[in-house]
Symmetry: C2
């Protein structure tokens, strides 16, 4: 049920985040959270309102309806699982945040489910601690092989529109 576009999900999650943090969600805050301009937020909020996922009163702010809140919760949870997973395989902070965000919207339920399972499994399995530290070592050796200086890429601080729309090849 509820066929939401990827972006609609983004906005819903952002509204939840802002609300949790500040107690309310104003256009400006949502815009900042998503790195877009206020009019863009107004436009999407209107759509979400029409779908009954938020209520929007002019010049006041946006509030999630129970349904919107519940959807946003699911999205946020997915986000956190993915983030945990990326951290597990030693993806650096910044990239992990960004990519969790992408994966949560785009990947199939099957993949999300398996990633969740994998994270749970690693947490529960006795042998995994060892394995992870061996993996750590493996990554270290890769890094020292790769670049003598400082193995990691420019890291690029990408989350602006430009970067989101078209990226350069590795």
């Amino acid at each position: 049920m509820r066929n939401l576009s990827r972006k609609a999900e983004d906005y819903l999650e952002a509204i939840l985040n802002v609300s949790l943090e500040k107690g309310y969600a104003k256009t400006r805050d949502i815009a900042a959270e998503l790195s877009v301009r206020p009019p863009t937020v107004v436009e999407m909020v209107r759509k979400l309102d029409a779908m009954g996922l938020v209520t929007h009163r002019r010049y006041e702010g946006v509030v999630l309806t129970p349904e919107g809140r519940s959807i946003a919760g699911v999205i946020k949870h997915r986000h956190e699982t993915l983030r945990a997973f990326l951290t597990l395989i030693r993806v650096p902070e910044t990239a992990a945040s960004r990519d969790a965000c992408i994966m949560e919207h785009e990947l199939s339920p099957e993949t999300n489910e398996q990633i969740r399972h994998f994270v749970e499994f690693i947490g529960a399995d006795a042998g995994s601690t060892d394995l992870l530290s061996r993996f750590e070592g493996f990554c270290r050796s890769k890094r020292s092989q790769a670049g003598v200086v400082g193995g990691s890429r420019p890291s690029s601080t990408p989350p602006d529109r430009q970067a989101a729309r078209g990226r350069s090849l590795p």
Copy 2:
């Protein structure tokens, strides 16, 4: 270098795939590969041509330039690594294909790199075989907990536009 949109990458990879399979790439084949209509292909091919990544001669077909070919190769390799990874964590075939395709365009170089490392590591590490079979068991137990009947979701055969643009929540 080369700021390609996600879609441009899709087309490049599709052109490579079709070329490898049939020896040449016609509009119609590319359209089929990507589940779009021929005019859409013509439009994008024109852009790629303008960028110097393919050459397109009317009514004949599309050929990758050396640069286009090399970019397509990178994309394809990323795709295969991601697919291997998803298979590793027991994501079913169909979803793995689809999601590898999404991840390859959207994820940061850092994440792609770590996933590649992880796949390599698992292949090389002695203890990983054990771990994976324990994970297998873990997933099985999850499945039997979840639904008494047949644990897996409708699987949905999604790769049409509709599904790609807006999906339902898990």
